[in-house]
């Protein structure tokens, strides 16, 4: 039996909004970063849902391949982002984003 696509997109939307709220509310840079990962996952869920709606199965698989690439890019992004956070912590001894309001080190 098939799950209606509205439900899947609603779950994706809820997770995305929770990610946005995490970015807006929290000030720990690592938690903000994790909220961004949550938003990426919500977008992936929407892509996987839409991949099942395209008629020839080979064309629909393109959606799943795109999710594969998004995961690869997210891995690269996490490596660089966490390196930036470590560098900021070495300079300022804090990863509270309120403390990091100037670019000059």
């Amino acid at each position: 039996m098939i799950i209606p696509i509205q439900y899947l997109l609603a779950l994706s939307g809820i997770l995305f909004v929770l990610g946005v709220l995490g970015v807006l509310i929290r000030r720990n840079a690592i938690v903000i970063f994790m909220s961004i990962e949550l938003m990426l996952n919500a977008a992936n869920l929407a892509l996987i849902s839409f991949a099942r709606t395209i008629a020839p199965a080979e064309a629909g698989l393109g959606g799943q391949v795109m999710v594969f690439f998004i995961i690869a890019v997210a891995a690269a992004e996490v490596a660089v982002g966490l390196a930036l956070i470590v560098t900021i912590f070495k300079l300022r001894h804090s990863i509270d984003v309120d403390q990091v309001h100037t670019l000059k080190g």
Binding site: M1, I2, I3, I5, Q6, L8, L9, L11, G13, I14, L15, V17, L18, L21, L24, I25, R26, R27, N28, I30, V31, F33, M34, E37, L38, N41, L45, I48, F50, A51, R52, T53, A57, E58, G60, L61, G62, Q64, V65, F68, F69, I71, A72, V73, A74, A75, A76, E77, V78, A79, V80, L82, A83, L84, V86, T87, F89, S94, I95, D96
Partner: protein, 172 residues
């Protein structure tokens, strides 16, 4: 109510609860562990949606590699509880209100306004989303993006090493 729908609604409830707990918990390590649970739940939903390969990639790369990196950095910095005094006063309720407005817009568009124009889900028989079919598509139509992704990962690795290098130590 059929079996798949009940399973999906249970998994969706777990995903939403873990996401809320991730944002709400004070300790960053608890946030990371809740996020791992959230990723595994979403991987189970991918299994429901005929995406077995992506579900496995999600568990190994996201719940495995990326979250271990997060936990490693949290413990390296000792940054579990860095949020002390709050300087955001009116921004926090405003962000909650705006988030709920965004959610209400999405729900309205999905269920009441444009629900009829959404595409219909097909029932696939056989090996849709299996590692074999994904691999055939990946190395046939998407070979160039695959190679570019490997270069991107290399550049990210070099960039990460360059960023955390201790310059003072090298100068002396």
């Amino acid at each position: 109510m059929n079996m798949d729908l009940i399973l999906f609604l249970t998994l969706a409830a777990v995903a939403v609860i873990t996401a809320v707990s991730m944002i709400a918990s004070r300790n960053a390590i608890y946030s990371a562990l809740f996020l791992v649970l959230n990723f595994i739940t979403i991987a189970a939903i991918y299994l429901l949606l005929d995406a077995a390969f992506i579900a496995m990639v999600q568990i190994t790369v996201y719940a495995g590699a990326i979250m271990v990196l997060f936990l490693f950095v949290i413990m390296l910095l000792g940054a579990e509880r860095v949020e002390a005094e709050t300087r955001l006063t009116w921004q926090r309720p405003l962000s909650l209100v705006l988030g709920f407005v965004l959610l209400a817009e999405m729900v309205y568009l999905l269920f009441f306004h444009g629900g009829g124009s959404l595409p219909v889900v097909h029932e696939f028989e056989g090996a849709f989303g299996s590692p074999r079919s994904i691999g055939l598509v990946l190395f046939d139509s998407y070979l160039l993006p695959f190679e570019v992704a490997s270069v991107l990962l290399l550049v990210a690795m070099v960039g990460a090493i360059l960023l955390v290098r201790d310059e003072r130590k090298e100068a002396s």
